[in-house]
Symmetry: D2
Subunit: 255 residues, 4 copies
């Protein structure tokens, strides 16, 4: 199965992470500027009514809808690793993708890709057995759905597994994070791990979009092939950064 | 939309109501003798792994799979009424039907009908606004899916609403319950409300299957038009009753 | 058991209603101005870590800590009535009061009163069986803990039940709500049900504190004997109103 | 703080692990033969009503009540490790111990010790930071409550930490499990890890009670100093084993 290669990285953003009476995220403000909405499925955040509203918002702005499944941990927001078996992970993904797709059907649309959330996203990057379970779930749900995974300097092993399983990968890079020489994210505990300066964030986005080399944390060149770029709608600053990235991408596309 | 009218009532049974480490129901024993498995969707019982196992069992025995959605109340097993708004009910049904359908897709099958569970089943029978919300969810998910509702002596109002909404109803009767003259179930608090004698249960099943009149609790004749009959797999006695009803129906079909 | 009668109504405020990653309420801002913090116990909001932080904040400002137990419904924020039996309600109150008291012990304090939340608060006002179950829980936990209940024009029946059970009641009035002639809150669906003008809110607080008559929704005089006044810390406006009420009460106390 | 050293190991058993409509464990049958009931606190199993019933049963049989707190994971029965921070673990223990104590107060008793459950029990044995958090919770709740921990060939480090924290430990051994030479349980994946022969189980119990050496999995002598012995009430066989151990202990005590 050949990999889908959009000319410019798609901007993807976590959405619909409110829950009941609790609100998080400026979904209304950021939705118009992204390509892909990673919509929480009720395990780490959201509920059926918030999912419905979020799907409706994505449809209105013609944004692709992705299932954003997670470990079952509302209190921990899906950020605490849980020792779930690969079979349990496969089943909980089918459940969550299907649940969001049920909401989508009522709004005349469908789930278009899958991006696991938080601790599950990290765990599958570190554990090939878990990654296989995640791929299995997506393939068995609908083999045409792409799966977002982290771009690294060495995507070949993941790509080989994906080819074996018959699944499309969308490699994801981060505009606001520093990378080490392997193309892994520098730990948040390290100084300089997260970019806060919007000029830096926009510049890194453009570099990634052009397929040029980033400077990694040891000063070397790092080329990451990114199908999609993760952006954030948590607050006014991050929304402003997303708008600026969108403008920069529009300029690139028009060039 | 015309109503589906099987010649003999379909035997439907609640299934997959275990949860995590806790087991309920003799699903393996009763599955071979029923036509329809009402599979819990994780809100009143079950979890993705149990749903997977139950769907697989239904597929093996060529039993139709129904979504059995409920209020979000594991501790109360979906038997406690909750003041959810019609919109919330519509959304939680879409979520649960979709979730089960996600599991079904991985097993090469699909959800084939919907039967709300417990307090939600009762509440929708009492509140037309809630019933409309339930129908809305099913129609928006897939207008070809039948909805199971309680058979009464006066099915016309429900049928009229169903016709307006464009949904098929399957009217359900109970083999082990006494009925009053309106065709409502006699309250469990009344003596004689539940039949425990398997001869009585089988006889009532056959009477319903033949379309003949039951004797209601005031001694009158009660004709219920039943597309499906609710049976139980809780224990060895109820499974034996299901087998006996199946044998009786086979005899009727062969006659 | 005689009723505790503080000279000025105590200001009570719902607190600690965040959950995991989700934040609600300006607890830090409002805590210095109230007498009583109604702290969520994990059933409608909060979690053990947020409870710990909230108890610590109350201790710092020398504010009395009340358990704020609710129906088990995080998604509905405890605002959806649930058909729980009186025995279930008694047990879930013991659980929640004890849980908060466990957190309190680690901070060198204890739960000092109980105020049921949301739908449970309303349901117990409407159903004497439920009210008795709530009182039973409090008495069995610690008969010295006061229970907050809604002040009405006719507190005698509730007081009689409380005397029989051996429990202290704290009658609660609302500074920002209109009352009907029975001393019941005007439904939020009616125009004028909620006061938004802070002058009106402060004036109603002072009237209640002086034991003078309010004007009810039909234009008559309504005297409510209020041991405590419910205030809100949801946003900057409501916090400003609390500060103004506190200033007004300080002036009254100094007079 | 000196360690409590009962002459014969106390028999402790997990209890109250049903949940809502789901039943597990023969609590009624096994309660008369044990000394200590480890009662689930609603995070891995149980609910307030089942906790109430279980506490009542323990009181009736004069059995000591222990809090059996766990990770918040009903579906996984507290058996899946979760990456909770030490502070989160401390808070969730305070919550659960307090909740059970709230139920106890209504039945005229109190929590008398603490035994963490499942994955949390294992994780604290492997991670001193987590163990310290658990001890912190118990000490802050009530420094007189003993904490059950796993007996090993080298209890000194745990004991040293306990002495520093001012907490009593009750070391726990297992009658039905094989031990390796460090006094750790042989993994369930190894052959012979679990004893199924009741003669073997009773013999190991008596050996532990006498303070004599077990034969470890490599054929060597292993002395475990056990304050308490874990037994099971899952099914008729395990209950019979508990009765036999009780008889053997009675014989030892009478000798």
């Amino acid at each position: 199965m050949s990999r889908s290669a959009p000319s410019l990285p798609l901007l993807n953003c976590d959405m619909g992470e409110s829950f009941g009476n609790w609100k998080i995220g400026l979904d209304d403000e950021v939705m118009p500027y992204v390509d892909c909405a990673n919509i929480a499925c009720g395990f780490h955040a959201s509920d059926p009514t918030i999912m419905r509203r979020t799907v409706r918002l994505a449809v209105k702005h013609d944004v692709r809808i992705g299932a954003h499944p997670a470990y079952p941990d509302l209190q921990g927001f899906g950020r605490r690793s849980m020792a779930c078996s690969p079979a349990e992970v496969e089943d909980m993904l089918l459940y969550q993708i299907g649940a969001l797709d049920g909401i989508c059907r009522a709004e005349g649309t469908r789930v278009q890709y899958v991006k696991p959330h938080g601790a599950l996203y990290n765990d599958m990057a570190a554990d090939p057995t878990l990654l296989r379970a995640v791929m299995q779930a997506v393939v068995r749900y609908d083999a045409s759905l792409p799966l977002m995974v982290m771009a690294t300097a060495n995507p070949a092993p993941m790509q080989a597994l994906a080819d074996e399983m018959g699944i499309t990968l969308w490699f994801e890079a981060f505009a606001d994070r520093a990378y080490d020489s392997r193309g892994h994210l520098v730990s948040r505990r390290e100084p300089g791990a997260v970019h806060h300066d919007s000029e830096v964030i926009i510049a890194q986005s453009v570099t990634l979009a052009r397929g040029e080399a980033l400077t990694d944390s040891s000063g070397g060149d790092l080329v990451l092939s990114a199908d999609t770029l993760c952006v954030h709608g948590d607050n006014a600053e991050s929304v402003a950064a997303v708008r600026a990235i969108r403008d920069a991408f529009d300029a690139l596309a028009g060039a």
